[in-house]
């Protein structure tokens, strides 16, 4: 395989604290050198002047594997939620799931916490770990039974597995289509109060502390949810969390007109919650940003709001929307990148997330200042359901390198 020389890029590698204009030399699928070095005569070259070079993004918690869409978004590693068909609740399925992205992206399966994600019987999580699952996840729903959740966390602790949870109280949110408030009332949508999240996080983190387990909130979306996380950390709880850009950029007013592309899970929240979330991004409470990529076909969205399936196609807009959110919250680019690379890699113990010498050569090259307009009709993803269609943004992926090979050129 030919070496690859990336020259003139602003290299941002949060793991090593690097932020400087440097050259990157890639050989044998790994980062061979950073900084000035002899470029072999047979090397393929990318002139990356004016571009940022960052670790390929690590997306902690996607619902569908769409390698082409991930590469277009600069994502080289994904943690795949177990809500697949069939559910990843068996070692053979976990093993198979690891291969579905190859050779384009790394897919790290998350083991279903319970059989069929039904929330009643534990799945073979330790065998799934042996088969390649990097963590456990409850999927799209909370495990309603506190007893099942407690046992799961005790079990997970013994095998040093992080448990990724969907943080909405199952009973309180049953049948809900929106967050309780003026908008839900105006539109006549069934709703659940935003505290459904804080209740779920509070329960799960207390159980995790009692069990000595590590907990990761897939998407935190409310002010009170953040407060519960902050308080738990003060006690020393091992809790981490992510969120998706939609919750940082939109509030529930976006639902007006019954726009089913804004139907997400958890549902969009109030403006107060959105602002609190920007605060959580700025003060470091939020560890990760995820696309939560959950593309939906037209048949699942061209319906009355109540019948539409939640979820949005997020992979291709993760970076640009993260940059927009970062600007709103005054978060420097290097920290945003860390939230989509080094931090999720560290939480889940997956390779990558860094450009250190010897690391896998998974690299995203993007123009941080390039303005563009999100155009869902040009998505690589099979689904165009984004609530951000037409939004002017900055930050465009130009190249995605995976394992030393150019996997996407924009």
């Amino acid at each position: 395989m030919r070496p690859l020389a990336i020259t003139g890029a602003r290299v941002i590698d949060p793991a090593s604290g690097t932020d400087a204009t440097l050259d990157i030399l890639v050989a044998d699928r790994t980062v061979a050198a950073i900084g000035k070095s002899e470029i072999p005569s047979d090397a393929q070259r990318i002139d990356a002047s004016g571009l940022v070079a960052a670790p390929g993004l690590v997306d902690a918690g996607v619902f569908k594997s769409e390698p082409a869409a991930f590469l277009a978004g600069g994502i080289t590693r994904t943690l795949l939620m177990p809500d697949q068909s069939p559910v990843i609740d068996d070692p053979a399925l976990a093993e198979r799931a690891q291969r579905i992205g190859k050779p384009h992206v790394w897919v790290h399966p998350l083991a279903a916490a319970t059989r069929g994600l039904a929330g009643t019987e534990l799945a073979e999580v330790a065998l799934m770990k042996a088969a390649g699952a990097v963590a456990i996840a409850t999927g799209r729903r909370q495990i309603a039974s506190s007893a099942v959740m407690y046992r799961l966390l005790q079990y997970a602790a013994a095998f040093d597995l992080v448990t990724v949870v969907h943080a909405e109280d199952a009973a309180l949110t049953e049948g809900a289509e929106a967050t309780t408030g003026e908008i839900a009332t105006r539109l006549g949508l069934a709703s659940a109060p935003a505290i459904a999240e804080a209740i779920a996080i509070a329960r799960d983190v207390r159980l995790a502390e009692a069990a000595g387990a590590r907990l990761h909130i897939h998407k935190v979306t409310t002010a009170e949810g953040l407060d519960v996380i902050r308080a738990a950390r003060q006690r020393g709880a091992r809790i981490t969390c992510g969120t998706a850009p939609a919750y940082l950029l939109l509030n529930d007013e976006a639902v007006t007109g019954y726009r089913t592309f804004t139907r997400l899970s958890p549902p969009l929240r109030s403006e107060d919650d959105r602002r609190a979330l920007l605060g959580g991004l700025a003060d470091g409470t939020i560890d990760c940003l995820t696309s939560a990529h959950d593309p939906r076909g037209q048949d699942e969205k061209r319906l009355p709001f109540a019948q539409a399936t939640p979820g949005m196609s997020g992979a291709e807009t993760l970076l640009a929307l993260a940059i927009s959110a970062g600007e709103n919250a005054d978060v420097p680019l290097a920290r945003l990148i860390a939230m989509m690379s080094a931090t999720p890699a560290a939480i889940f113990g997956v390779p990558g997330g860094t450009l250190a010498k010897g690391a896998p050569a998974d690299i995203v090259l993007f123009d941080a200042g390039a303005p563009w307009r999100i155009d869902a009709s040009k998505f690589v993803s099979a689904s165009d359901n984004t609530p951000f269609d037409g939004l002017p943004v900055q930050g465009r992926v130009k190249w995605t390198v995976k394992g030393g090979e150019i996997a996407f050129a924009g």
Binding site: A190, P304, A306
Partner: protein
């Protein structure tokens, strides 16, 4: 029972402004006060026609009206059917929950099928909020919302307003208490918008579990104490209580509900002397309203509401089809 005095004038259409520039009637929210006033004034002369022996006007002759009801209804469907027939339309009723939707056809497929039959107006009821607007975006003719989920039921609010105005002579400044299951009620939401637009003082009376959040943003004052909410009221609108609310733990029992939120003769005494009692029907006697209150012809406007329903629906069908009938002054919107 009509007020002896000449009613106060409705909000006038400003000069040079079209009285109703909308293709559809999907809700009351967003309508201008004079647009509401225009529909109400149009409805007035249909009241007279409906009371005459010759109940027929052929302005909708040769037009096809489809009543597509995706949710059970007897009274509203009948009212729309009679309204269309009195205007001479060819009225077709389609009860959808029993047919194609069960075979997996999507709502939009059904909408496109209806559209291909070239209807001139479609009246739709659906159990999902927003479903009627979704269909309206896909068809080529005017759509009239006959109730979508918990969202809106605009003709109910219009017929309520027409009833109040005929009985009370005005709407502005009246104290109107809307009582019962506000959370699940599209009737309440449409009435909030309409009554606020016409300047009434609106109160919502409900147990806390059936009171939606953010209701004060509608310009409504919320009461969980019914006696306080009824004090000095000029109009009381009772809402139907669905019996499945007990199963959902919204309420302990019908008995307890009636005790605290039922409209009894005793409770009625706290309201104004000439209070008007209304109910969109069908009533649960002994659950939300005492029989003697419902049947008190001096105070109850419940049967008059049904009568006004036909007139209001005739007005809406007429106004919405004017563009396609090429009525003078309405061509531009076609």
């Amino acid at each position: 029972m009509t007020s002896t005095q000449e009613p106060a004038p409705l909000p006038a259409v400003p000069p040079g402004v079209h009285p109703f520039p909308h293709a559809h009637l999907l809700g009351i929210e967003g309508l201008k006060p004079w647009e509401i006033g225009f529909l109400l004034s149009e409805a007035e002369h249909w009241v007279e026609l409906s009371r005459s022996a010759h109940k027929r006007d052929d302005r909708l002759a040769s037009l096809t009206q489809i009543n597509a009801f995706f949710e059970n209804s007897t009274r509203t469907l009948l009212s729309f059917e009679i309204a269309g027939k009195r205007l001479g339309a060819d009225v077709v009723n389609m009860s959808v929950q029993s047919s194609s939707m069960k075979k997996g056809e999507t709502l939009l497929d059904t909408a496109l099928t209806l559209n291909a039959m070239h209807p001139d107006v479609i009246v739709i009821r659906h159990d999902a909020s927003g479903a009627v607007a979704l269909i309206a975006s896909k068809v080529d003719c005017p759509v009239l919302n006959a109730g979508d989920g918990r969202h809106e039921h605009p003709t109910q609010a219009l017929l309520d307003a027409l009833t109040i105005r005929r009985r009370k002579g005005r709407i502005e400044g009246l104290k109107v208490a809307i009582c019962g299951d506000i959370l699940h009620s599209r009737v309440a939401r449409s009435n909030f918008h309409l009554l606020a637009a016409l300047g009434a003082e609106v109160r919502a009376v409900a147990p806390p579990t059936l009171m939606p959040a953010g209701i004060e943003r509608f310009g409504v004052t919320a009461f969980t104490d019914m006696d306080a909410g009824l004090e000095g009221a000029d109009v009381i609108m009772m809402l139907r209580l669905q019996r499945e609310r007990m199963a959902g733990a919204y309420l302990p029992s019908e008995r307890e509900y009636f005790h605290f939120y039922g409209l009894t003769a005793k409770r009625l005494a706290t309201a104004g002397d000439n209070v008007l009692v209304m109910h969109p029907g069908p009533m649960n006697r002994g659950v939300e309203i005492e029989s003697q209150v419902a049947d008190d012809i001096a105070r109850s406007a419940i049967t008059e509401q049904v009568e006004m329903g036909v007139a209001v629906r005739m007005a809406c069908l007429d106004v919405l089809t004017r563009a396609r009938r090429g009525a003078a002054g309405w061509e531009a919107r076609a």
